[in-house]
């Protein structure tokens, strides 16, 4: 039985629990795990003050309850897995480099910021700044995968350099803003000003959207590489219409205020 952490009661203010991470718990006993430090506001407390802890410490963690106010779960994790049965708060998987986080509910803002590797799956929705760089940072996500089956808000993949972000629903504004490279796939609609300031990288959407004037239409074609990505998403449980798989996409090049080597591919029909 994996280590199970059951939230006993909602914290009154956000709880910073970066100790909920296989790396931090490696070679600890269950009693040691219970004593790991969490910050309730600015007050240091123990993990067991908020969670019932049971099971074996074997690299796999199961978290139960509504963790909307719990932050930094899985931050810097490099191996193992975290399975969240409900919702999760801010900064989940920040700078993680390996392993897998699965969230059955929704995720807060700053999901997987500056992520280096590994995989995050959100069955519900996610907030702003998915896979982004922190303010002042020049590089966001640098590897791995973030798969959100629901919707996301603004600035998804801000400063992203490598990796894959896929969204089954809609995205807010500024998707891929200042993107350096990597791939963002939005199965639904995107907001406005997508790809603003992008240097390289690919933003793909199955719905048409208003383009910035600094993007130019290259052509309409069938991108062969995209089939591999879409098959990968189908395997991950995304609902993708077969007509998309064989469909044509408009290729918009930009952002011309930067290198102009980025692309936005918009589904144009079969």
């Amino acid at each position: 039985m994996p280590l199970t952490l059951k939230l006993r009661h909602q914290p009154e203010v956000p709880l910073e629990a970066d100790c909920i991470c296989p790396d931090r718990m490696r070679s600890l006993s269950l009693d040691d795990v219970k004593r790991l430090a969490v910050f309730h506001g600015n007050r240091e407390q123990q993990l067991a003050d908020f969670f019932d802890c049971s099971g074996e410490v074997d690299g796999d963690i199961r978290v139960e309850g509504d963790l909307t106010r719990v932050k930094h779960v899985g931050a810097t994790m490099s191996h193992g897995s975290i399975h969240v049965d409900g919702h999760i708060g801010l900064h989940t998987g920040a700078a993680m480099s390996g392993g897998e986080i699965v969230i059955e509910g929704d995720a807060g803002d700053w999901l997987g910021p500056e992520m280096l590797g590994g995989k995050i799956t959100v069955k519900g929705n996610a907030g702003h700044m998915v896979g982004s760089g922190y303010r002042g940072s020049t590089v966001g996500m640098q590897g791995g995968e973030i798969l959100v089956h629901g919707n996301v808000k603004n600035e998804t993949g801000h400063c992203m350099r490598r990796g894959l972000i896929a969204v089954g629903g809609n995205a807010g504004d500024f998707t891929g803003v200042n993107m350096l490279a990597g791939t963002i796939i939005i199965c639904g609609e995107m907001g406005i000003r997508n790809g603003a300031g992008m240097k390289r990288g690919s933003i793909i959407s199955f719905k048409q959207t208003a383009m910035l004037p600094t993007f130019s239409l290259g052509c309409q074609y069938r991108p062969v590489f995209l089939k591999q990505y879409l098959n990968h998403l189908l395997d991950a449980g995304f609902d993708i219409d077969s007509k998309i798989l064989d469909g044509e996409f408009q290729r918009w090049c930009g952002d011309s205020v930067e290198l102009n080597r980025g692309e936005i591919l918009l589904y144009a029909g079969k």
Binding site: G143, E145, R162, G163, L164, A181, T183, R200, S202, Y221, R222, P223, V224, F225, K227, Q228, Y229, N231, H232, L245, R261, E263
Partner: protein
């Protein structure tokens, strides 16, 4: 031992350690994938003159191919691990990238890594795009019909080349019929190719020549026109045609299985003997004896 009325000679095929790779060509239609595959495996019958041996392994249905389009898998073999990268860069660059709608992917997932797409990408003149999906790096090279997509890296593994069968027949018609039946049966098997035209070679060679510049020359022991003049003829009086099937495979077991299947399929009326070519056992790393192949099946 006999299969029906055909005698199987107690001898062995002398096979060699080679290095092999598999890659998969996909295209919008099966016809375009096959066109690229035929082109890329052209002039690749023997390492003696072509620097590599290659052939089409199988057609791949769209639902099994890497990008959901119809494909063809191709095997390539060379004598050393280093040169296979150059052969692939040359041939994929000239024969696959040039073929409309194609893409090219590694068909092996283990073995030594060679960089192919990572070299071909320079054709993109700076407009090429790298895509990383899990551990797989793809290159998108802009071409006039869209993009040529190619894997950054391919894999090379130890392989076996030079497995062979000799079909000794009463006349050319019967021997061709037997060779055709054998190659058809062998092509159904995975992990092997038959690199010669339609899988069959008539100009079997021996090592050396009376001409110093040649490393190989006609195998006069099996030339029916030389039966009365060659001191080392291996042909009985009623044998007037010999055809050879050469097999390269990704494993010794695959080559052996192909030879076994080939022996059975080639045992047709008009075929006097089935044999195999060797150099006395002093050159190749593998000796594949014919009789044990048949005995092993019980």
């Amino acid at each position: 031992m006999k299969i029906k009325s055909t005698e199987v000679i107690d001898t062995f095929a002398e096979a060699f350690k080679m290095f092999g790779t598999r890659f998969i060509i996909t295209a919008e239609t099966k016809q375009w994938a096959m066109a690229a595959a035929q082109s890329v495996t052209g002039f690749a019958t023997s390492v003696i003159g072509c620097k590599c041996e290659a052939g089409i392994e199988a057609e791949i249905p769209a639902h099994d191919s890497p990008d959901g389009r119809p494909g063809v898998s191709v095997l390539f073999f060379t004598m050393d691990a280093d040169s296979i990268q150059n052969r692939l860069i040359e041939r994929i660059g000239q024969c696959v990238m040039t073929c409309p709608s194609t893409a090219c992917y590694s068909g092996l997932h283990e073995g030594n890594v060679i960089t192919v797409g990572g070299q071909l990408r320079y054709f993109g003149d700076g407009f090429q795009i790298s895509k990383m999906l899990k551990d797989q790096r793809l290159w998108r090279i802009p071409v006039m019909d869209g993009e040529f997509v190619v894997d950054d890296r391919f894999h090379v593994q130890e392989a076996v080349g030079g497995g062979n069968l000799l079909i000794l027949g009463k006349n050319q018609k019967a021997t061709l019929r037997a060779a055709t039946a054998a190659t058809k049966a062998m092509r159904e098997l995975p992990d092997i190719i038959l690199p010669f035209p339609n899988g069959v070679v008539r100009s079997g060679s021996k090592v050396g020549s009376r001409y110093k510049s040649l490393i190989a020359s006609t195998n006069d022991a099996y030339c029916p026109t030389l039966r009365s003049v060659s001191k080392q003829t291996a042909l009985d009086d009623d044998i007037n045609c010999v055809l050879e099937i050469v097999i390269d495979g990704l494993s010794l077991a695959a080559v052996e299985e192909a030879m076994r299947v080939g022996l059975h399929a080639a045992a047709k009326p008009g075929i006097k003997q089935l044999s195999a070519g060797n150099y006395g056992g002093g050159l190749g790393q593998y000796q594949i004896r014919l009789l044990p192949l048949l005995e092993a099946e019980g």
